[in-house]
Symmetry: C2
């Protein structure tokens, strides 16, 4: 299945999620791991759409989510910085989800400078992450 850029923007405006997890992690010297991820969740009947997104972006994985739901997921700052962020800079989201995307990008640009490996940097990222995905009832 071939996807067009504007279809991807529209679908992600509806179904995509940009999230920054900050998880306790004993092996990190600052005690936390910053985990940005881009996900699109669908009922398993539409798994072919998730594989089409994976093909479109040339990165990420399709995995089981909860129950009968599957997720397309991109983790790892390289793929996010090289594939996902440039795409949504060139083809902006039209909903308020773009505000979340821009904060997500801010976090990744900090991570590119390895800011997340310092205590101060983790707090800076935590402050940005706290402003994301607020009040998003379905």
């Amino acid at each position: 299945m071939q996807l067009e850029a504007q279809w991807v923007v529209g679908f992600v405006d509806g179904e995509g999620c940009f999230h920054v997890g900050i998880n306790p992690h004993a092996e990190m010297s600052v005690g936390y791991q910053v985990l940005p991820e881009f996900t699109v969740v669908q009922h398993e009947r539409d798994i072919q759409i998730l594989h089409a997104l994976k093909g479109f972006f040339g990165c990420g994985v399709v995995r089981k989510n909860h129950g009968a739901r599957m997720a397309y997921r991109v983790r790892g700052k390289e793929h996010l910085l090289q594939r996902i962020v440039p795409f949504f800079m060139a083809h902006p989201l039209k909903t308020k989800k773009n505000v979340d995307f821009l904060k997500f990008r801010d976090v990744l640009l900090l991570m590119e400078k390895e800011v997340h490996l310092t205590q101060e940097g983790v707090e800076q990222i935590r402050a940005i992450a706290a402003q994301m995905n607020r009040g998003l009832p379905r």
Copy 2:
């Protein structure tokens, strides 16, 4: 806000709903009113998207839904047959929602022939509607 056709397809693949209501109606000779509707629901923060869809299709209304949610809604077989159905025939949905759309179209084509004004027609439409929007957990 200008929307591109493929963005609209992607967004409706995620957020749109094609529904056929069959409601008891004392004033109809068959006792039921068949009410097809196309809706897109969003949080009120994205109301501008709903108005952009209204502008794009050149029909429908933007109304309050439940709580902080707003809906773009098209009812009435003329607008559905002249605006909504031709658009999604020319620009097919990519998810399994297209199966619902095609059944929705079948109902509208029956209504165009005024089949819904007979008892038999209402039952025929009821059988099609029963196959739509099945197992659509979010």
